[in-house]
Symmetry: C2
Subunit: 301 residues, 2 copies
């Protein structure tokens, strides 16, 4: 299972029971938390998410609606006697703030917290099953997006077609990784003729708070699901730009240019009580759009 569950879909000022940004990405048994606005720990409880499974937390930037819930969550982990290491990837200034908060409170940690400062673009976390790549977006202060990718799965041996080809079993792992086989007589048995492609690897991109900028497209190219902020409707393009945010149409254009398979929009301004028009406008340009709704899990397929 690879999916994203929305815990907060609103911009800075909480309104209409919409909360500041937080998302849980589930990749098999592992959970990643992206951003952690105020109230995230309550939202985790509300939507029955097993917070103990969170292994990595990614914070996009230092506006409070993206991290004011973090110190509380980290403290609560200790109150719940968490033992598993936790990796926090965030802008460097967050470390000093957390250190001050925890030293002033004399907080006792039951687990090890590893702080990894964000620094430019590139892979920031990976194991054999996934990688996470950070990339800069364009906001009033330093802000990052994240692409979470399944690792490319190896090809499968085509049992019927390989029989009689006399390829030694010891070479099968190299076939799975795409190599051709060369016989003792110099004959080339092409990889495609004896293996089958596995399902393509899926990816989720979270693009942070950003003004419209096509430079993002190269970072989120071909992703399976792109989350892009759409703080305002299309008639507020100037207002959006002045606040370093995007509109519906702009989010759609990024998805289109980047050739994303699907688009999820969120970070809605508190000036809007209802969200239908966000979907209508965005879908006009990019039909495979969904609204980020709190409590809903979007499967990445």
């Amino acid at each position: 299972m690879f999916g994203v569950t929305i815990l907060g879909n609103n911009s800075a000022l909480p309104a209409y029971d919409r909360h500041p940004t937080a998302q849980i990405v589930t990749l098999n048994e592992q959970l990643f938390l992206i951003d952690c606005g105020e109230g995230t720990q309550m939202q985790l409880t509300r939507y029955k998410i097993r917070r103990s499974k969170i292994s990595h937390i990614f914070i996009s930037h230092m506006h409070g609606d993206h991290y004011f819930g973090l110190a509380g969550l980290l403290t609560s982990f200790s109150l719940m006697s968490r033992e598993q290491d936790l990796h926090l990837h965030a802008p460097a200034p967050l470390k000093q703030i957390l250190d001050l908060q925890f030293s002033t409170a004399d907080t006792r940690f039951t687990y090890k917290l590893h702080f990894h400062p964000l620094n430019g673009d590139g892979i920031i976390a990976e194991d054999e099953k996934f990688s996470v790549e950070a990339f800069k977006v364009f906001h009033r202060i330093d802000c990052w997006g994240f692409v979470i990718r399944e690792k490319k799965k190896p090809r499968k041996i085509d049992v019927e077609r390989i029989s009689g080809k006399n390829i030694p079993a010891i070479f099968y792992d190299r076939l799975k990784n795409g190599e051709d086989y060369v016989t003792k007589t110099g004959e080339i048995i092409s990889n495609e003729s004896v293996t089958i492609a596995n399902t393509p690897s899926r990816s989720y991109a979270f693009s942070g708070d950003t003004i419209y900028n096509e430079a993002i497209c190269k970072n989120v190219k071909d992703v399976t699901l792109l989350y892009h902020e759409a703080t305002f409707l299309k008639d507020q393009e100037e207002r959006a730009a002045s606040r370093f945010h995007s509109t519906t149409i702009q989010a759609a254009k990024i998805a289109q240019t980047a050739n994303a398979k699907r688009l999820l929009i969120g970070h809605f301004s508190s000036k809007y009580e209802t969200l239908d028009e966000f979907l209508t406008e965005t879908s006009e340009v990019f039909p495979q759009t969904q609204l980020a709704i709190e409590g809903v899990t979007y499967i990445i397929k």
Copy 2:
């Protein structure tokens, strides 16, 4: 109107839709916020409290469940274009944390925030209608309680009994303040004979997180309503002491010794799903007890 509305009645780990500590004290047209746990701004919305009327915020101590909602609330005030000055009374280390959070976020304030560090015991805020006195309580880190008092109202002139006494009207203000009148012939007209006592001034004491300690009683003596924490039931006395918290019976004993008129208990541990037993145990020692329930306003009378 003088009353306290509970926004959070739970201890550190939010549970059962109970929130960390926050209370709104209403005194006529003025609102005071005492403590500001994570989610306080959402609770203000939920219970339809006019946050723009908050003039003073008091933070008891630097454990996160008492202030992690503050940076968000202060930021939201600006997003709502607040213009009125705001007075924040809190332990000194909070200033550095807030300064870092706001400078890193490049937060633009629309109003003036006055930071007043807590420092020992004494009056920390007052005007012609109220006074707020801080006093140290006994927790794992520095922690304060607060007593909010109406200013003593002047006596009223007894129109029937003063007639014929030939006291000049210019002396009436001094009569209201309790002075006797001395006639030109040296006769004393006692204050009580020509004035009526006004309703007695009321007071609310919030006693912060504290281990059982009778030294608190002198600070909260004779208050109209005492809020005292009761984190644990009576069978957890050792556990309470080891964590610098109190039990039901201990809260009741403080109320009794201090001669409080009524007692409100809160800061319930997350280990308890239901609260009935808190009331039963506390009432056995101090019958005028109520449970602090979120969303409920307790009138101070």
